[in-house]
């Protein structure tokens, strides 16, 4: 079963315990839809923050794919159809080199080459190799390589990385709750893991560079899945594990603010009020504490009241990060 513990992706355990419940998704067809309001789809600036704990048991995230040859994504927060943004976990690699990525993804007006396209950032950590600001981190058009264990990291720009050379394998090392956040603003995307900035991708286009959504797509931002690429009423890429304390802002929360949110633990920071290094309370667009513990609705504690609805039976869990 899922267990509370240290994550591979960090060594600091949050100090407070305010969250009593999280939501357990089974990875087959369940998710939370958030109402579809425009407030959940910021354009010029964005932050998404969540806690996630993947199911690494047999039948869970680590279950080997029988087809054995393609990347597999599971969305923490998904709003990608033909455009949009998403925060997900991907897994691939080989049996010898299992790789678990966190991916921040958004289609933006200018992804750095003058055209609209998807801006991806991928962060994989086994022992935190791949120093920040290395050539790989700066790596325009640098694809993730199926390299030796412990050092395959990179940043990919300008489109989906195919990942087709990877083979699936058992994920053994992503256990416990991890805090993950993505920010977008002034043409810069950042990916934080457990309160620490891990990836920065600067398009160099700081003005008028927006997240692009499909003009006709009024579908709802989802928690625990992504929008289905084709079927307008469906979800896709379901997450197998626990999610807690999800929030969306229409501003790029700075590094100090992200660290504050992480260090205070799930629900440890009142996002609607200034709290030390956190001062983005006026930018909060959606905040699903996922702390009701019962029922099929989850309240949005921002001013927008984007009440979420549990779809297809995700379960309440008392397993939380703090």
């Amino acid at each position: 079963m899922l267990g509370l513990g240290h994550s591979l992706f960090g060594s600091t355990t949050p100090s407070a315990k305010q969250s009593e419940f999280s939501i357990l998704f089974d990875g087959t067809n369940d998710y939370i839809k958030t109402g579809g309001d425009a407030s959940t789809k910021p354009t010029s600036a964005l932050t998404v923050s969540a806690w996630v704990n993947m199911d690494t048991s047999a039948g869970g995230f680590g279950w080997p794919n029988p087809d054995g040859n393609s990347d597999h994504s599971q969305f923490i927060v998904g709003a990608i159809a033909v455009g949009g943004y998403g925060l997900s976990i991907n897994y691939g690699g080989t049996a010898a080199n299992p790789m678990t990525y966190f991916i921040a993804n958004a289609k933006v007006t200018d992804n750095g080459d003058g055209s609209s396209g998807y801006l991806n950032q991928k962060y994989w950590d086994k022992d935190d190799f791949g120093p920040e600001s290395s050539a790989a981190d700066a790596g325009i058009n640098t694809a993730i390589a199926d390299g030796p264990a412990y050092n395959s990291v990179g940043v990919t720009w300008g489109g989906h990385t195919s990942g087709t050379t990877f083979t699936q394998s058992v994920i053994k090392d992503l256990t416990g709750f991890t805090h993950v956040a993505m920010t977008w603003g002034a043409g810069v995307m950042k990916l934080y893991v457990n309160g620490v900035l891990k990836r920065t991708a600067d398009t160099g286009v700081s003005s008028g560079n927006n997240i692009v959504y499909q003009a006709t797509d009024a579908r709802e931002v989802m928690i625990g899945a992504d929008l289905h690429l084709v079927a307008s009423s469906s979800a896709d890429q379901f997450l197998d594990g626990l999610i807690d304390d999800v929030a969306i802002w229409d501003a790029a929360v700075d590094a100090d603010g992200i660290a504050k949110i992480y260090n205070n633990g799930p629900l440890g920071t009142i996002l609607t009020a200034a709290d030390g290094d956190y001062d983005n309370q006026g930018d909060l667009q959606g905040w699903w504490k996922l702390n009701e513990g019962t029922g099929t609705s989850v309240a949005d504690s921002s001013t927008n009241s984007n009440t979420g609805t549990l779809v297809n039976g995700p379960a309440w869990s008392t397993n939380t990060a703090g």
């Binding site: 087959t28 279950w63 029988p66 087809d67 084709v230 469906s234 779809v311 297809n312």
Partner: protein
């Protein structure tokens, strides 16, 4: 958790008060829309008598097959 795969023609027999899926509109289908599935806790449901019941690991194995995989993966 128990899972049962159904054909599209069997959807009309689903008692949504007994399964965890919300409604016909939230069912997940395979890529050619010929199969779907439902999940439930506890004993086998009467309207699913005679159907093969899968556990989570077995269901995930099914869903990793090409016929269920997303175009995005």
């Amino acid at each position: 958790m128990n899972y049962v795969i159904l054909t599209a023609s069997e959807v009309s027999s689903i008692d949504f008060s007994k399964v965890l899926e919300n409604s016909t509109s939230t069912l997940r289908y395979n890529n050619d829309n010929t199969k779907t599935f439902v999940k439930f806790n506890g004993d086998t449901l009467s309207f699913l008598d005679g159907k093969t019941t899968l556990n989570k690991a077995e269901m995930k194995t099914e869903l990793f097959k090409e016929e269920w995989k997303s175009e995005e993966e």
